[in-house]
């Protein structure tokens, strides 16, 4: 292939055993001419150690404020092919399941109307088609909707919800994360496509505490699977694991709440009321142990990356949520909780303030009171250790007398 740009630095990254993104850009350039200039510009960045993309801009499809991220080269004369090189976020399927037939059609759109380069998938979950010109956006959008795929979220909107593989292929799943993710995504299309929030808002659904979607680290609203009843034990299978490794060393002693014991005679015993559903024993002996049958989820709130006031993890908001029961009702209880949270955020939050930052600013107690939840010990690692309490009531002498 005759190359438009010399790329000695990038060529170094075609060596080695891991699949090369440089080779992928080259392959995309074989399908879409514009992509050649991307190689040139990235090579220049490698030479100068600095980025060559400009600040976003006003691009999108009509009626939506989401789903397209504007990208412009700051060297448009030198690299005309990537003068406009926008990202199209295409909402992935729940659980990232596809057929070859559908995938071919999806990437054909990128070959025909854009750079032929994709992210499978972006960090939030969308399929990202990179490198679309402004004039092609509407066509690309319509081609994807014809296949039954809509755009995902961007900007101050609900971001594309995502979930783990859940009940489709995992015995650890305590609720149907794919069904819930899909249902919630469909319910909040308006909030995804027409930004009305102070800042982004992310949902992630993980069906057990292993949290394969990293929801506790990055979702404003994390739904993490758990269960109410006892861990199911197959004592024979426990014994078999005991022949493979030291049960005490690798299972019993590592239990964070010390709720397990084992003896050859008595088998494995679990004090389920003290189990914190951490998943360690189940992870280690999946053939012997299973979560209970009364599955559901813990709802947590507030995780985010550093901007603006520092990174946060999600904190417990609802210790147990009966997902299956609510699913019968189209997740009405969950949607109501969400709308209360959004109302509070709308009322008290400021621009670019994530919900976790707002809760920190106004205090967890005030927040839960406003959305109608009770304070619960499950919400804290421990009660406060300082006496600076904002008591809200006191009695005065005359009232005492009256009383």
């Amino acid at each position: 292939m005759s190359k438009k740009h010399q790329t000695p630095l990038l060529d170094e990254l075609k060596k080695g055993k891991w699949p090369s993104f440089v080779r992928e850009i080259e392959r995309a350039a074989e399908k879409s001419e514009m992509t050649d200039d991307l190689l040139g510009q990235v090579e220049q960045s490698y030479r100068e150690k600095v980025v060559h993309w400009k600040h976003g801009g006003m691009v999108g499809v009509k009626g939506y404020g989401s789903g397209i991220v504007g990208r412009f080269s700051d060297l448009p004369e030198k690299y005309p092919g990537i003068k406009e090189f926008h990202t199209v976020r295409v909402n992935q399927t729940a659980g990232f399941f596809y057929t070859s037939d559908m995938l071919r059609k999806m990437v054909d759109i990128g070959e025909k109307h854009a750079s032929a380069l994709f992210n499978f998938h972006g960090s939030t979950g969308d399929i990202q088609l990179l490198g679309a010109k402004t004039s092609e956006l509407e066509t690309i959008f319509q081609e994807y909707t014809k296949l039954g795929f809509d755009l995902g979220g961007s900007g101050s909107a609900l971001r594309t919800p995502s979930c783990c593989v859940g009940k489709a292929r995992c015995e650890f799943a305590n609720f149907d994360s794919m069904h819930m993710c899909d249902g919630i995504t469909q319910a909040f299309q308006d909030e995804m496509h027409r930004p009305v929030f102070n800042y982004k808002f992310k949902f992630k659904f993980s069906a057990c505490g292993n949290d394969c979607t990293a929801s506790i680290a990055r979702a404003d609203l994390s739904v993490i699977g758990t269960w109410k009843d006892d861990i199911r034990i197959d004592q024979e299978a426990v014994k078999d694991y005991g022949k493979k490794f030291n049960l005490h060393q690798y299972v019993i002693d590592k239990c964070p709440t010390k709720c397990m014991s084992y003896s050859d005679e008595g088998g494995l015993k679990i004090e389920n009321s003290n189990c914190s559903r951490c998943m360690h024993c189940i992870n280690t002996m999946p053939k012997a142990l299973r979560p209970g049958t009364k599955g559901g989820a813990t709802i947590l709130i507030g995780a985010k990356a550093p901007m603006v006031s520092g990174p946060r993890l999600s904190m417990v908001l609802v210790p147990f949520y009966d997902v299956e029961e609510d699913a019968k009702n189209d997740y009405a209880w969950f949607k109501d909780l969400i709308s209360k949270i959004w109302e509070f955020w709308d009322e008290y939050g400021v621009s670019r303030e994530r919900i976790g930052e707002l809760i920190q600013r106004v205090g967890v107690g005030n927040f839960i009171e406003s959305i109608g939840l009770e304070p619960l010990p499950e919400m804290v690692a421990n009660p406060r250790g300082n006496p600076f309490v904002l008591y809200e009531e006191y009695v005065e002498a005359d009232e005492e007398q009256k009383g």
């Binding site: 404020g65 504007g70 930004p195």
Partner: protein, 76 residues
């Protein structure tokens, strides 16, 4: 909300954004609050303002922009 109020509401939204071009970036939420107050006598609700914004963006009279946060603007 009457058709007449709706028309007035849409005009007020566009003229507010026009007036503040290059001075302030209105988030859709700002517009909702602003208009809810301004049209409270006509019984305009949050959802009315939202649907007005939707009609204005669907018809291309307003577009969304992004600069660290989303905002509404007149087409360039």
């Amino acid at each position: 909300m009457t058709d007449e109020t709706k028309k007035k509401l849409e005009e007020a939204i566009v003229s507010l954004i026009k007036e503040y071009t290059n001075k302030k970036r209105f988030k859709p939420g700002d517009i909702v609050k602003e208009m809810e107050g301004k049209f409270s006598a006509s019984g305009v609700t949050k959802d009315d303002v939202k649907s007005a914004i939707r009609e204005l963006t669907d018809s291309g009279q307003l577009i969304y922009g992004y600069a660290g946060g989303s905002f509404l603007a007149l087409p360039e």
